[in-house]
């Protein structure tokens, strides 16, 4: 298209150079972004994969003499407990908030709630940690999985609310009208018609929030602290995979670094599977309802 001499004159000299520079710049941006992602992926996969073993998934950390013999089973269990507590609280809260925003929310109240959601979403995650640390940990005088879960609730609630709201809005208005015309009250329409239609979409909202919670380190560090051993008491300090990676990476022991890479690899895999899965489901849902 560019060689035709148009109203601006032929494309030569400085004009041509500038355009070429612009194109080269765009190319460079793409190369840099792909390189960054590639470099991260290659290192995490290659170093992390070789750290995996049966012991890695089944044993607690061994002593400093032979770290390779140990594993991080307490981190997997702990992550399960902390994220489980957070999900049990945040998912129902988030979904009902989403129902209000999508089904009832008009006017000022709803836009205030939406603004608050956005503010919470842009708040650094460590702030959620500091908040729960100050309210729960300092008050009770102990770090705990429960406090860790609460910190994650602060992060997950707005994510579930906003993502699920968007999904509920995809449900065609005709379905609601049809159901109301048949004499079903509003709440039944929502629970029996709107939510089931949104079905898989709501799952994507939950998956996104869980993916985010799995990878969070700072808020859990401040509230659950970490633990070298298996702990299933929610009122005691509990380990989590990101915490273990953080702790192991800061030691000078090379074998522990290896374990940290392994933890990062498993974490990355889980988070990416969840977020890519959510993306695929969401795209399918959009196509189905469009």
């Amino acid at each position: 298209m560019s060689d035709a001499a148009g109203a601006l004159g032929p494309i030569r000299g400085a004009r041509r150079t500038k355009d070429l520079a612009y194109r080269a710049f765009l190319g460079m941006c793409v190369v840099l972004a792909v390189t960054a992602l590639g470099a991260i992926a290659i290192y995490v996969v290659s170093r992390g994969f070789s750290a995996l073993s049966v012991n890695f998934f089944t044993k607690e950390p061994a002593g400093p003499l032979d770290p390779q013999a140990g594993g991080i089973v307490q981190s997997f269990i702990g992550t399960g407990i902390i994220v489980g507590i957070a999900s049990l609280i945040a998912i129902p809260l988030g979904l009902l908030t989403a129902v209000y925003l999508a089904e009832y929310g008009r006017g000022r109240t709803a836009s205030w709630i939406r603004l608050v959601c956005d503010v919470l979403l842009s708040t650094p995650s460590i702030i959620a940690g500091v908040f729960i640390w100050s309210v729960v940990v300092v008050t009770l005088g102990r770090f705990s999985a429960f406090a860790g879960g609460l910190a994650l609730v602060v992060l997950m609630w707005p994510i579930v609310a906003r993502a699920a709201e968007e999904v509920l809005r995809l449900v065609p208005q005709e379905l609601r009208e049809g159901s109301l015309a048949l004499g079903l009250p509003r709440w039944k329409t929502i629970l029996r018609v709107v939510v089931p239609t949104a079905g898989a979409g709501i799952l994507t909202a939950i998956m996104l929030a869980v993916a985010r919670a799995l990878g969070e380190t700072a808020p859990i560090l401040l509230t659950s602290l970490g633990n070298d051993y298996i702990n299933t008491d929610p009122m005691k300090p509990t380990d989590a995979v990101p915490l273990r990676v953080f702790v192991d990476a800061r030691t000078p022991v090379a074998a522990l670094h290896q374990i940290a890479w392994g933890g990062a690899f498993v974490l990355l895999l889980a988070v990416l599977l969840l977020s890519i899965g959510a993306r695929v489901l969401h795209a399918r849902q959009q196509k189905r309802l469009a």
Binding site: G6, L8, K18, Y22, L120, A161, R186, L221
Partner: protein, 344 residues
């Protein structure tokens, strides 16, 4: 629609049933509303808790908290000046933005122009960067990026370091953790959000304008310069602020590569400490000691204020672009980001 109960009544269904139905309707609606309001209360509680907790430190040290350079929790000699942490936070975030904004805008322009087999995977790639947990960035930063940059830094010192004024940024021969590494890690972390928001802003610019420019014989660059950037400018500034807000609050990845040394040095090759890295590395000692705890909460309040202001400003600026272009007319041109993507 609020008269559902009455409608049922008129259909001949019993009054008792209608009353029950109305009650259920109201309680369901009430529950969802209460939870929505609960979210507002949560934010309010958080802000009140942080500010009241920080009050002791603010009132004990006053302005010193923001301009002092000493941070000493030892009982009897307590003094809390947060300037080095504020400095470290700002320097690393500015480096991140300086690197990420040009690249992010470039990516957004690229994605906007190139349609077809390559654009979609690239967009997914960039979104994947947003999903990677910060601990993974941190680990990669410590064991891969830090050694790489250590090898490049002497070169920077010998070239840019010789230039007056700017050279001071690359002064010295510090090996190991430094602000530059933290800035580069942050740049990679905020790249997706800058790209996504810029893309959204560029997508609202009417295509006709660009096509008109191209039809007049302008080059791609000229069409972008004349028909896209003037509209997208405030949106890009908004995206920058959003990215800056993210960078300011990032904790773990920065804590792992910055060296946690509270000092104010112009050189990016020097280690430093940031507000989040300070919180993350000293909350344990602060749990029992009143004033130290209050000072840490003061750091948190400072961070919250910064990020709130940035978030509000960026919201306004992104809105402004949309209005500039003519509101919802082009609503359908928006790419599918929204809350499913990375944009809050």
């Amino acid at each position: 629609m609020t008269a559902t109960g009455d409608q049922l009544g008129s259909l001949g269904i019993g009054a008792a049933r209608a009353r029950r139905s109305r009650f259920l309707e109201r309680s369901f609606r009430g529950t969802t509303l209460a939870l929505g309001l609960g979210l507002i209360l949560l934010l309010a509680f958080m802000l009140i808790e942080l500010t009241t907790g920080a009050w002791r430190a603010f009132s004990a040290f006053g302005l010193h908290f923001f301009v002092g350079t000493d941070w000493n929790p030892v009982a009897g000699r307590q003094s809390f000046g947060a300037l080095p942490f504020m400095f470290g936070t700002m320097m690393t975030s500015f480096v991140a933005v300086a690197l990420a904004v040009p690249i992010g805008v470039g990516l957004a322009l690229f994605l906007n122009q190139v349609r077809g087999a390559f654009a979609n995977p690239l967009a997914v790639f960039i979104d994947i960067l947003a999903a990677i947990p910060s601990i993974v960035y941190g680990l990669w930063g410590v064991f891969v990026l830090l050694p790489w940059l250590d090898r490049i830094e002497p070169f920077l010192t010998n070239t840019i370091g010789r230039i007056p004024v700017v050279g001071r940024l690359f002064d010295g021969k510090a090996q190991g953790p430094d602000m530059l590494t933290a800035g580069v890690i942050l740049a990679i972390m905020i790249l997706p959000i800058i790209t996504a928001v810029t893309r959204e802003v560029i997508a609202v610019v009417p295509r006709d304008l660009r096509e008109a420019a191209l039809a007049l014989g302008s080059t791609r660059w000229e069409s972008v310069k004349m028909a896209v950037l003037p509209y997208a400018r405030s949106g890009i500034v908004g995206a920058t602020m959003l990215g800056l807000g993210r960078a300011l609050g990032e904790t773990i990845a920065v804590t792992m590569v910055i060296g946690n040394t509270p000092q104010i040095r112009a050189s990016l090759l020097a280690p430093a400490a940031t507000i989040p890295s300070k919180i993350a590395s000293s909350f344990r000692e602060a749990s029992s000691i009143g004033l130290t705890r209050s000072a840490l909460l003061g750091l948190a309040v400072t961070l919250v204020v910064w990020t709130f202001l940035l978030a509000l400003a960026s919201r306004a600026l992104v809105r402004k672009t949309e209005q500039l272009v003519g509101d919802r007319l082009l609503g359908e041109a928006e790419p599918e980001t929204g809350s499913m993507g990375v944009v809050p």
